[in-house]
């Protein structure tokens, strides 16, 4: 097992070994995603209070969950990169940032579009909304550091430290609805007792969550392959590869 990890973590082997993974993740994301959307838009019952507008949940909530999940992956891999100098970890962190930023943006915008009919406002400085906005800025800050600093090692160190410091924001976002009395509703699924959502609505929601994860897995591997090519541009395996292209 350890041998496989060693081989997989060298950029050269990662570049080729990740291709089948990308294929399967893409197929999985597409199938589960389409089925989840079908259930969510056509089959799930109308909400007795919110009517049809609640159907935004099937993209708002998975995007929000993903923005937190991707940030944790980014911070963990940045930490691994700094502590053990595993270059693939830095590549995964750099590859995750734009994807996480796009999910945080999607969560904020779909939430705001859902908030307008339900709360009467596109934006309020609510604890949950504000901490999610800070999460988006942390992603953008990470990406800015990555592109601004010339030397790759110091760019990884600086952006990695920002990512690790920013981890404190993750529990704040999650518990913001309990700590402050927020306009945003409390946890519905991620809590210890039974989720307070009807099963016909829960199933498409969980399907979409799985589809988002598979989609992220496929895209982060594609981006990590680009990072591997760019960061190893002076190495023989990349030069040989490029000559064949």
């Amino acid at each position: 097992m350890w041998h496989w990890i060693q081989r997989f973590s060298s950029p050269k082997h990662f570049y080729t070994m990740s291709v089948p993974l990308i294929k399967w993740f893409t197929v999985g994301a597409l199938l589960i995603g389409l089925y989840g959307l079908y259930l969510g838009l056509f089959v799930a019952p109308t909400d007795y209070q919110q009517g049809e507008s609640y159907r935004i949940i099937f993209i708002h909530v998975p995007a929000a969950w993903m923005s937190l999940f991707v940030y944790m992956v980014m911070a963990a891999s940045a930490g691994i990169g700094i502590i053990w100098q595993i270059r693939l970890a830095d590549m995964v962190a750099a590859a995750s940032a734009p994807i996480g930023a796009s999910f945080a943006f999607l969560a904020l915008v779909t939430g705001s579009l859902w908030g307008k009919p339900m709360w009467g406002a596109y934006w309020v400085w609510d604890a949950r909304l504000t901490s999610e906005l800070i999460l988006l800025f942390l992603y953008l800050g990470y990406m800015a550091l990555q592109s601004a600093i010339e030397d790759q090692r110091s760019a990884d160190k600086a952006s990695g430290l920002l990512a690790i410091v920013g981890v404190v924001n993750i529990p704040i976002i999650h518990y913001s609805v309990e700590w402050w009395n927020t306009l945003h509703q409390g946890a519905t699924v991620t809590k210890f007792d039974k989720p307070s959502i009807h099963v016909d609505m829960l199933i498409p929601l969980l399907l979409m969550a799985v589809a988002f994860k598979l989609f992220y897995a496929a895209i982060v591997l594609i981006r990590a392959r680009n990072e591997a090519l760019y960061r190893d541009r002076n190495r023989r395996w990349v030069r040989e590869l490029i000559e064949q292209l």
Partner: protein, 63 residues
């Protein structure tokens, strides 16, 4: 299944379909952006290789 009723989304059509439109936009952007990134990286490396070959040719010519 009445399509016009479906698209009306109980009067919330604007909010629901704008959200789903942005969702598709974000998914497509996440697919296209790495492809463009890959083209940029490959052409950058190719240009570096060409520049190095020209440099070597010049040195060989001068020596």
């Amino acid at each position: 299944m009445n399509w016009s009723e479906f698209f009306n989304m109980g009067g919330y059509a604007f909010y629901v379909w704008t959200s789903y439109g942005l969702f598709i936009l974000v998914i497509v952007a996440n697919i296209i952006s790495p492809m463009m990134q890959r083209k940029k990286v490959i052409s950058h490396i190719k240009r570096t290789i060409r520049r190095e070959n020209i440099g070597q040719a010049k040195r060989r010519h001068q020596s």
